[in-house]
Each structure stands twice: as structure tokens, then as C-alpha cells.
Amino acid sequence: MSSSFASGTRSHSLNSQNQAALPSSGGASSQSSLSNLNKQSNMLPSKPKLPSYLADTSFAELYNSVSAEAFVLNGANNDKDPGELVALPTAWSADDKCTFLELSADKLSVSYAGTGKTDTDAAAIRANYPIPPQCGVFYFEVDIINKGREGFIGIGFCGKNVQLMRLPGWELQSWGYHGDDGNSFCCSGTGKTYGPKFTTGDTIGCCINFRDGTAFYTKNGVNLGIAFRDLKGILYPSIGLRTPGEKIQVNFGQRDFDFPIELYMKEEKARLWNLINARPIPPLSNPPLGTAAAVNTNNNTNINLAFSTTPTPVSHATSEANLTATIHQLIMSYLVHHGFSETAKAFSKDAVQLATNDSTAKETMEIEDTFSEIDMDMLNRQKIRHAVLKGDIDHAIRLTDIVYPTVLPSNRDIFFKLRCRKFVEMIANCSGYRQSPTKEIEVNKIVRADTIDTMVDDDDVEDNEELEAEIEIVFREDEEKGEIQKYEDAMDVDEFDASESDVEGSMEDSSKYEEAMRFGQELEDDYRNDIREEIQSTLRETFSLLAYSDPTTSVMSYLLDPAHREPVANSLNSAILVSEGKPPIPPLEIIYRQASVTIRESLKNGIGAASLVNVQKDCLL
């Protein structure tokens, strides 16, 4: 390594009239002199900017997720698992070169300094990093500064262990395009007619496509067509020179390219999407549409059988129908999960209408029967959610205990979270912290569901009928209203206009404060002996509100933010769903998570095509 050399000559290269000196060589030189940077006082290690044609890829996300420090520590290690490679070639390697070659200070220009008598005088150089296949597409351009005596210039790429006394393409694991004859060389001393010759003043581009394992060259911005196929493995950009006077300069993306590589990326992405869209979607194994979309989720056996066999060819129309049916189920279960009951009803109607124009009355009946059952559940969960989101924690707890009596006893941590939230709400109330104008709780009928099993048997049809009979015990509305009213009186959560509450403010506050303190004491007593760190830290955080005379202006005021009710509401909703044997997370969300992780892991396993799709950018809005 030329540790002090690199930084020492950098300023020099700016003065010298070296044609190779680039205006934007910062990225490359910062990397080559990393060891110096660490010694130099305040300079932080930096990560080279990603070439712009890769900006929208999944690889970009992987690249950006690696911190500059980690990049410096690990990025340079070429021996690690290929999946961990994120560094891209940014310059030529000062070490990985034939001695006949001279490298400019910015490590971008190479000139031949040998005798150039025979082919044994050929000299090649590799880039500082290999190309990570998971980048999907890699492109670089080489300016021919001088063709020298003969212009025996080769441009290409090769494996790590290919010897550098030869021009690119002459060895196994080596590929090149040569200027003197325009031939392409694929791991062989015998070239194939490929493109035009190239000479002084020309710009030659080289593009490796890891999606389909091909490479093509460009000359002065024109695509010359595919030169190589079946490429795989870890490859380094490489050039080779052979006669005196030859000189080239590389562009690894620090400057604009002659060739519109961004457009090529767009085409590549579109080609990949055409492939993705051509994939058949498997049929549903459940009955389609609104019928029990969410109820039937734990009936696994037939699902596995249906998908373990090799899928038979599916026609496009069938695949599209499968896709629509699948999406309908996903949307329905999503709506049901979050308790969007009105949307679910409207959607279900639309879907049925669209699916069958001649839907018989009986089918409609069935759908409505099943739906009313889901509907009850949704309304109940929606009501509980609204109570939490309103800050009315006591009400949420009471409703949960009535409708889903097993949930809180078996989910003590959620109960704890609710109580902590309640304490925060009490503090918020007595410090006059008012948020959203509270809405009147819509009091619908509440359904008792305490006999709902978490396991649904095979013969659940009969059970469902029994269940239905049992759960249709409707609470009287006035009882419910009374409960809410009592609570609202006690907590003074709404219905007073501003002036009224101001007048009573101080008096009210002191008694409310005492009540909050009593409740806080109770909470502390109950959990003092719970040694789990998350419990204790939550307690500490919650009680720290008391340290401030006006919590609303304190550093802890974020706790008072109504937005913090949402996670509590979500946890409770999930716990209720789990108690009913439903997934804690809607299938739609799992689909997204699975797609995201699968793409990321594909990248880590070197699947280049995965770089060209981006779950977040392609599938979200």
C-alpha cells in the first residue's frame, strides 16, 4: 500500500497538466487513501456516491443502509461472502496491476510504460473493487486518450485471480473488446468479429447485466450489441495495454456517460416487469370473495396440499381471475382486521356484483349472513379502537372485558400498556392538555362473544351455528350508554366548552390530580416487582411526567401526544384478533413484508435481477 503517497500526490496532480485529472475525483481518491484519512484529524471516512443510474434500484437501498464507517471497515475486504459486497469499482487498483503500467495520482488514468515488443509484454489492471452482482447492472466508460504505437488496447472484465500479463479476454474468466481489430474475446486467444475498431478520441463503454448474464459495449454512445453471454461470478473491470504510448482514462460514474445508461436501466426494468407480470398467479384454495374471507384463515390442510404439487400451466385469463380473487380476499381481510366495516360492506357488494352478474338470491344471503357475523366483530373492535384513540382507556378496557373477556387476562403486557396510557391521559387531563375535539361515541349494539374458541374445529360449520346463537346476546343500549356517561362525567373528557372548563379549571384539576396520583401509586404497586426491563423502563418513562409542574412543556411532552395512542390501540386490536384465531397482522401486510425481505435476501444472495425491482418504490405510492 502506498499510504502517504496517495494523499501527498493528490494536490500535485491538480497542478500538473495531467489529462487524467478529473474535476470530480474526490470519491475515488478518498477511498484509495482511507488509511490516511483515519490518521488525519477531523476527516470522517466517506462512502463514494452511487452512480446515478443505480439510484432507483434495491441495491441503492442496501448500499445506503451501510454506514460510512462500516463501509470503510468492511467494504474493502474482497474475501468476504459475496452477499456482503456493496462497494462498487471507483478507480483502478494501485496494487492489482502489471508493473508495465503507470497509474495517475487519481487512479483513473493508465498508461503503458513497457517495451511492447511481444504479446508477453501485455499488461492489464483491475479495478479497486469487484462488481457486486447484486447491483443488477454495472456500466463504465473508457476514454482512449492515446492509441500509442499500435493501439493494442483491450477493455473488459475478469475474475480476481486472472493473471495480469495478458490482455482482457485471453484467459479463462476474462472477457474483452480490442481496439486494433474490433474483435471480442471470450476466455480465449481467438477473437470473434464484434464491433468497429477504436482509437484515440473514442469512448468505449462496457455494460454487464447481471439479470440475464450478458455484456455489451458502446462506442461513442452507441450500443454495439451483446458481446458475451452466460456471465456469472465475481468480476472486476479491467483494461489491458500492450504498446508504448497507449493511455486510457476510466469513468466509473464520476462523470456523465456518453451512453444514456439511465434509459437502458428503464428498459431493463420494464423488461423484467414483463417477465414478472407473465408469471401465473396460483388459484385460491378458499372459496372466493366475501364469503368468510377472514373467518377461514386457520384452515391449513387443503392449502398445503393444493400448493405442494407442481403448478399446472395456467392460462393468462385464469391467472388474472386468480389474481383478482386473491386481491379481493386480501383487501377484505385487511378491512376486517382494522375494523373498516363500512368499506368492507361496500367492497363486498361491489365485488359480488363484479364477479357474478347473475348472483342468485341464495348466494347473496349466505354472504350477508357471514358478513353480519364479521360485522359484529368489526364493530366491536372498531369501538374499542376508537375508545383508545380518544384517550378513553377505561372505556376501552371495559368494552374489551365485556366482549372479549379472555383477552386482557391472557395479555397482561397489553393490559399494562393500557394502564400506563391511562395514567398519561389522566395527567394530560389535569394539566389542561386538550387534543382533538372528542366525538360522541356511536353506541351500537355490543355482542357478547365470551364463548368464542381460539381453535376452530374441522366441523366448524355446526359450531359456528351454535356460536352464532350464543353470541347474539345483545346488550341493552341504555346500559351501555349509562356506563359511558358515568365515565365521561368522572373524567370530564368532553362536552364542556372552553369557557366552562376554564372557570372550573383549578378546582377540577386538583382533584383530578389526586386521582391520577392514586392511580399512579396503584400502578407502581402492581408492577414494582416485575423485573423485566421493558416494564420498568416504561414505568420510569411514564412516571417521569410527574417531575414537571407543566408536563405539556416538558421534554416528556411527547408522551402526551395522542399519536401515542395508536400503537396501544393496534396492540389491543391484534391481541383480540389472535384470541379469535386470526392473524395478528393482516395478510396484506405480511405480503408486503415478505416481498421486501425476499428481495433484500435475494440481493444478499447475489441475484442481480432483484436490484431492478424495488418493493417500496414500485409497489407503494
Binding site: T118, A122, F152, G159, Q163, W170, D181, N183, T190, G191, G221, F259, P260, L263, A270, W273, N274, I276, N277, P282, L284, A293, N300, I303, N304, I327, Q329, L330, I331, Y334, L335, H338, F340, E342, A346, F347, K349, A351, N570, P583, I585, P587, L588, E589, I590, I591, Y592, R593, Q594, A595, S596, V597, T598, I599, G606, I607, V613, C619, L620, L621
Partner: protein
Amino acid sequence: MRPRAQTNATSPSSSSATKKVATREEWEKKLGEVKISKTDLNNLVMNYLVIEGYKDAAEKFSQECGLQPNIDFESIQDRMNIRNAIQNGNILDTNPKLYFHLQQQRLIEYIRQGKTSEALEFAQDELAPRGEENPEFLEELERTMALLAFEDTSQSPVGYLLHPAQRQRTASELNAAILTSQSQDKDPKLPSLLKMLVWAQNQLDEKLSFPQIRNLATAELVEGTTPASNASPSTSNNNNTSTSSIISFPPSLSST
């Protein structure tokens, strides 16, 4: 060039690739780390409802999930019309930039052929109105017209316009627009998500054994297949009864 001296060839490195395994535990941890907000998913659903024309459901949804109804529900039909136009091949109507570049290319070809009067007429009739609409276009038009001012255009600063690369640039742009119009851009995002998942699982399955979703509607994770190439018939039978379970990573991660 062709080498005269033969040297020892390095043998290609070909290690027999064994399929790695991701355990359910590791996998679920990763699933839990994915950043996705409820708002994102709401938008995804809304996007489907709107584009596929579920007008009632879309309206209810915007009320219930508190999404600002920034979608004009009356425009649902308009969107459908635009989509149909693109699917029927009217790409240029929706892409003024591409349209301009194609016209510009035609102008360049007139100039190349020395048809100066045709070039002037064409520029005035077809391109100048476009330039008035868009300063970017006007600048490009002026640059193109500058070709006429030079005796030897190849030596002029705008000579690059006559280079074959310029033709290719325009052709690529057209190609990309056609491909885009055929793919997902004007379609709802949800089908793309599902298709991407099916494709991605299939790709990764060649390298890694990991918990997969086979039933897209229920999104249950089932254990990855045993290494497909060397799986014996007996093990593939056992796969039929592979365990599946409902994943249970913390739901708190799913909300913002």
C-alpha cells in the same frame, strides 16, 4: 488482437453450491424489521379501489381510514379512460416530452439530408408551438436549429445532434415509453406487489431455503423446500405436510 504466446490458464473457480437455509426464527425477525406504515397500506388499498373503479368502497374507505379525500372520485372514470388510451397504443398523448423528441429527431433528419426549407417549415409548424409551451423544449429547439448555421456541422458545438448516438437516444426513449406503457405504471400497485412476491420467492428459492408464502390470500408462511435438485422422492412427499403457522412478530412494528 490475437495473442501469440500461450500461457497456463487459471482454472475457473466452480465450487459446488449448497443451498443455504434461513430458519423461521431468523426470517420472522427480518419480517418484523421491515418498515411499513398503516398509512402506506391504506394508500395501497385506496389505490386499488380507485383505479379498479370501486367507487363506493373508495368513498367509504376515505371516510373510515381518515385519509384525506385527495382523490376526486369523479376522476376515477377519467383515469380509466387514460389507462385505456395507453393500452390502446396512444402513448404519445400522455408523454409530451417523448412526442417533442420524436419531432425533433425528424427535424434533425431533414437537416442531415440538407432539406433546409422543409426543416424550417417543419420547425415552425410543428415544433415552435411546443417550444412555446415549455421553455425546456424551446431551448432544445434552438439548439437543433443552430445546426443550420454551420457550414460544417460536424465541427459545430451542436454537432452531437447529428451523431448516431442522438438517434439511439430517441429510440431508447420511445422504447422505454412503450415498455412502461405495457407494464405497471398506470395499473394499480397491489397486483404488482403480489406478482413481485411470487417472482422473488421463486428466484430466491434457487439459492436459499426460506419460509415462503404459497397461499397469497392468507399469507401463511410455510417452510422452504428442501434443496430441490437433490431432494429424494420421499422427502418431497413429506413436504406436503410441512408445518405452517401464523407468524407472530410484534404488531407494534407495523404502525407508525
